[in-house]
């Protein structure tokens, strides 16, 4: 993609993230504030995750004789979860573009549903992972290490669950009210949350899973 094109695309940007552009001018000012406000919230969430990462690293040695990362983690399911979340980030991008350029409800709903299914599949594999860990004696109360693990990774899973519920709510809102301004703003903010959760997952798979297995 050439820099000239980038410039023409982003020349009239009003707020961070994907801008819907002049075709969606109604309520543009409110949207600008709401999206920027959501970014501020996202960054405070980033601090929480960052500190849980730091806690996890300080607790790496605190297995108290219990199972450690090598016994508990499976590379295959971590890989599957990573792929599901990465693909869902891409499909959400496609949904955003369907909203921006076409206002085509069918296409938008299709991509949103694909994203939702990928998110749910991610949660399924993550819960299965936790189940396997429990079976191996890796419960949160076993050691400081496991407490740190279970405050970091399931918190991310909880965020994904919340995002999935939000996505369902937006789909419901869209069915009742159509593609009106609040729904559009909601999709823009959910996109930020969804991409942000994928970024947090990069940290989790690199530090927790790959770091633990290497």
């Amino acid at each position: 993609m050439s820099s000239r094109n980038t410039h023409s695309l982003e020349g009239n940007s009003r707020h961070p993230g994907l801008n819907l552009g002049p075709a969606h001018a109604q309520e543009e000012d409110t949207r600008e504030e709401m999206v920027f406000g959501f970014w501020v919230f996202m960054m405070s969430d980033l601090i929480i995750f960052g500190l849980l990462f730091a806690t996890y690293v300080t607790m790496l040695g605190g297995t108290a004789g219990g199972p450690g990362p090598k016994e508990l983690f499976e590379m295959k399911s971590a890989f599957i979860e990573t792929m599901l979340l990465l693909t869902s980030s891409f499909t959400f991008g496609m949904a955003s573009l369907a909203l921006k350029y076409r206002e085509d409800k069918t296409r938008l709903v299709f991509w949103l549903v694909v994203t939702l299914l990928l998110g749910v599949a991610f949660l399924f594999f993550e819960l299965k992972d936790f189940h396997t860990m429990f079976d191996k004696g890796g419960v949160p109360s076993r050691s400081g290490y496991l407490s740190a693990f279970f405050s970091l990774v399931p918190l991310h899973g909880l965020h994904v669950t919340g995002a999935c519920i939000w996505l369902l709510a937006l789909l419901g809102q869209m069915t009742v009210h159509g593609l009106d301004a609040p729904v559009k703003t909601g999709i823009l903010r959910l996109a930020i949350l969804w991409h942000f959760l994928d970024i947090v997952w990069i940290g989790i798979f690199s530090l927790v899973y790959l770091g633990g297995l290497s």
Partner: protein, 115 residues
Amino acid sequence: MSARPLNEQQARECKTEQRSYLWGFLLALVLTLIPFALVAFTEIERLTLWITIGVCALAQVVVHLRFFMHITLARNKREDLLLILFTVLILVILCGGTLWILFDLYQRMLPGMMP
């Protein structure tokens, strides 16, 4: 609601943005596959491995910010970049401080906690 027909310029922009998302996806995919493949199939030295994983992760974060979240160096987006950079500064101070203090304590008083 039926699909809005695109004029020529919109069609071009739409294509460019679609390609941008696709590029982001491919780059992120490569940056994911490298560390997974290294851990799964090779036996390289631990420190080198950790550095590679860390570099790939950082690069992938930048790819996500650039291609999926549209954070660029463009002048009219500076405030968002500043918000992110300021948060990262706070995070580095908090996390770096936590790790420094606790590992210093471990070294002095709890050698068993050193991983």
